[in-house]
């Protein structure tokens, strides 16, 4: 099925209106749409996702995986890979992070870099400011934009690694020897800092202070976002936060949206596009990241219940919506009902959130829908502005 057909069918499936008309398609725009539409079609096979990603990678000119790892693997002095190897056999979270980074799984962690490259190519050179004409351009993307994509991945990976630090005074005997955890923490901090240092150096090389400011503020947002995540997960998801969906949106913007949004904006700045285009790129990145998060939050609720070990984050979007609908007290009561001998029965809890009022589930679908249509609209504006 071609992409265009897919897009025509998609809104009908969700009962919404037809997609906006387009004047001109570029292959990169196609790919952006396919990435977007895959988000909604969660029943799509991993094979399709991989296909979409490889098409995207062809458009931007090279495989974007391992972007942020190059500096880690090649740097003699740091030799981080060697240090991480010492952690094999321990239970430090860094090992899981490292595995996830190297393993090419469905949750393609290189998404941000790829999106930045695609949007750079889609926007093309600025029609307003011709000062970039002398810049290096390969496959329609400036080398500074490629560098920016890499920096984005570096920042993302750095915070991913820093998320995996362990609180030493909360360790149980099942976590293994203290020494291992201490060493793991040390390597995690240093690796994360090393990635951040590389990102900062890369930013300095771009010789554009506005871009540095954008990415630095994205980092600040990301740190705050991760902080919120940590605060909730510290309680092992047993008790949920008393937050409504708008607070959830703010926090998710910080932890997921800000980086991609500001990177896309920065990519436009590098090509000297005007404020309107930059804003469109920002909105695109923001909604892209948000819908990605919402989609992953939805997974436990819409997958076929084949696995016994079902768990979900009690601060994910559907649950937050459900809580907002029900009211906090009733929700706490439901949690209480679903708990047996201190352990939470997630399956039971899911029935509550899915059936009682259907609020959580459909509410989130609407958000994905809204997200995607915002994306379509923004892209059309962006594209028509560029041409």
């Amino acid at each position: 099925m071609s992409l265009r057909q897919l897009l025509l069918r998609l809104p009908g499936y969700f009962g919404a209106s037809a997609p906006p008309r387009r004047l001109w398609w570029s292959p990169s725009l196609d790919t952006i749409f396919s990435v977007v539409s895959w988000r909604g079609q969660s029943s799509r096979s991993p094979a399709h996702w991989n296909q979409v990603v490889s098409e995207a990678e062809k458009i931007v000119g090279y495989p974007t995986s391992f972007m942020s790892l190059r500096c880690l693997l090649s740097d003699e002095l740091s030799n981080i890979a060697m240090q991480v190897r010492k952690l094999v056999g321990t239970q430090h979270p860094l090992l899981t992070t490292a595995r996830g980074l190297v393993h090419d799984s469905q949750n393609n962690l290189q998404l941000r870099g790829l999106v930045v490259l695609l949007i750079s190519k889609a926007a093309g050179p600025s029609s307003v400011d011709a000062s970039c004409q002398n810049y290096d351009m390969v496959s329609g993307i400036y080398s500074c934009q490629r560098s920016l994509a890499e920096i984005t991945e570096l920042i993302h990976t750095a915070l991913l690694v820093h998320r995996g630090i362990v609180n030493l005074n909360e360790l149980q005997s099942t976590d293994g020897p203290l020494k291992d955890m201490q060493f793991g923490n040390k390597i995690a901090i240093l690796s994360g800092d090393f990635l951040l240092a590389n990102a900062c150096n890369g930013l300095a090389l771009l010789q554009n202070t506005k871009v540095v400011e954008l990415l630095a503020s994205a980092l600040m947002d990301l740190v705050q976002g991760v902080y919120h995540e940590n605060s909730t997960s510290a309680k092992e998801n047993r008790i949920t936060d008393d937050i409504g969906i708008s607070t959830w949106k703010e926090q998710t913007f910080l932890s997921h949206g800000a980086l991609l949004a500001k990177s896309c904006q920065a990519a436009m700045e590098l090509a000297k596009h005007d404020a309107e285009v930059q804003d469109m790129a920002f909105q695109y990145g923001k909604h892209m990241a948000m819908s990605h998060k919402i989609n992953s939050d939805l997974q436990p609720f819409i997958k076929e219940k084949t696995s016994d070990s079902l768990t979900f984050n009690l601060n994910s979007a559907p649950v937050v919506l459900h809580q907002e609908f029900l009211g906090r007290d009733l929700w706490i009561k439901q949690i209480g009902e679903a708990q047996e001998k201190g352990r939470l029965d997630y399956a039971k809890l899911m029935c509550f959130s899915c059936h009682k009022g259907q609020s959580g589930h459909t509410g989130t679908f609407e958000h994905i829908l809204n997200g995607k249509f915002y994306l379509y609209i923004n892209l059309e504006f962006a594209q028509s502005t560029c041409r």
Partner: protein, 412 residues
């Protein structure tokens, strides 16, 4: 200055010989001259392979002369100083603080975010109790360079921002270092990781770093941004250098000096260079500023390593023998190892066996490790003074000269 000298005498246990060449000290000036000079020459010959990073002074005698000259810091003994201007002696800290009023308030403004606890953690060390050594050097250097360039008595706003940024980068690295070293106290109070846990402490460090980057971006000067991002990389590489170790003795010392530069001196050197870039277009001045910062930074760290052996924990605000307990072989240890080769095994296993730390400490205090490290620090300090003296005379230049001496004589 005299009161400080009295504090040395009655304060902690050990002082290096050369310090007592102050004007108020009896019986040390003349007779010890030739002996110390000979010792200096011996040291020079023995350590020449280690000192390849130091621009050595050509003969031992000028070293002795310059040590006595620069330790005459009371106003009465000013006669030998040609470089000093006619102005009254002032405390460099007071001089620097004139420009740094509101330093901590401004840093807190940079850290203004909505998440209360995270903000509290990030502001924890910006309470005004730190030495603010780096910002002082930065603003004094800024003034010295401005005066050298066009006799301007102003400090540009962007130069003052560099002072803020330097302090923020330094603090961010401290927060992370405390988590890495499982430190429980610093500056006389609990560390961030002790109070709030490791996870949040790491994020607080990241936040301070990102705030510093934003402030840096707002200076609008791409050269300055490049200079200071180099610091961030050096800080991390310095930590990695500390993780690894070298088997060869000669390599060990070069490794130690390189680590010292990256972890401590790079920030000071590059901040000085950054303010000089903002104040003056002459690359010679930039190099002077950089070399001053580099030499002062290394001297500072060397004395810090000495104080880890010689001072008591109340004064330092952090526990001592800390470096040994972390398995780190610093200057005094490396020098002591020459006299006591049995220390080699302990160094290689990073003092991990029980009793290693105490035995190593004993060896160091018995040997002349401390003395030699102090001597090395003096050489770096004099090199710094030599560099900064190339600038046009000004109160700030004198203050910087004094600072490089204070680095040698501090006791905490």
């Amino acid at each position: 200055m005299a009161s400080r000298w009295w504090r040395w005498r009655h304060g902690c246990s050990w002082k290096p010989e050369a310090r007592s060449l102050g004007s108020g000290c009896p019986g040390r000036a003349g007779p010890s001259g030739p002996r110390a000079a000979a010792a200096a020459a011996d040291v020079t010959r023995a350590q020449v392979s280690y000192f390849n990073l130091v621009k050595s002074l050509t003969s031992a005698f000028p070293i002795m002369y310059s040590i006595s000259r620069f330790h005459h810091t009371t106003p009465a003994a000013c006669c030998c100083s040609k470089t000093r201007s006619g102005e009254r002696y002032t405390d460099p800290f007071k001089l620097g603080w004139r420009d740094l009023k509101g330093l901590y308030e401004d840093i807190r403004k940079e850290l203004f975010i909505s998440t209360t606890e995270l903000k509290e953690m990030s502001e924890y060390y910006f309470d005004g109790k730190g030495k603010a050594f780096r910002p002082i050097i930065v603003v004094l250097m800024a003034r010295a360079c401005n005066i050298h360039h066009n006799n301007s008595r102003d400090v540009q706003a962007s130069q003052r921002t560099i002072a803020l940024i330097a302090e923020m980068i330094h603090t961010a690295s401290l927060v992370h270092d405390d988590v890495i070293d499982h430190a429980s106290s610093r500056r006389g109070k609990h560390t961030v990781n002790k109070i709030w846990g490791e996870k949040k402490a790491v994020l607080a460090g990241d936040l301070i770093l990102s705030a510093a980057s934003m402030a840096l971006a707002r200076t609008g000067n791409t050269t300055v941004i490049s200079i200071l991002t180099q610091v961030i990389e050096d800080l991390v590489r310095g930590e990695f250098l500390q993780l690894g170790s070298k088997e060869n003795e000669n390599e060990r010392f070069a490794h130690y000096l390189e680590k010292t530069f990256k972890k401590t001196a790079s920030l000071i050197a590059n901040s000085c260079k950054a303010v000089s870039v903002l104040g003056c277009p002459d690359p010679v001045v930039h190099e002077i500023a950089y070399q001053y910062g580099r030499n002062v930074g290394i001297a500072f760290q060397l004395i810090d390593d000495v104080l880890d052996f010689t001072s008591c924990s109340d004064q330092m605000g952090k526990p001592t023998s800390a470096d040994l307990k972390l398995g780190l072989a610093t200057g005094p240890v490396l020098f002591a190892c020459q006299q006591f080769p049995e220390m080699n095994a302990m160094i290689m296993r990073r003092f991990s066996l029980p009793g290693d730390v105490d035995r190593a400490r004993q060896y160091v205090l018995q040997s002349d490790g401390v003395q030699q490290t102090t001597y090395l620090a003096q050489r770096y300090s004099h090199e710094a003074v030599r560099e900064i003296s190339k600038l046009r005379p000004s109160p700030e230049r004198e203050a910087l000269i004094q600072l490089s001496e204070i680095v040698l004589t501090r006791d905490k």
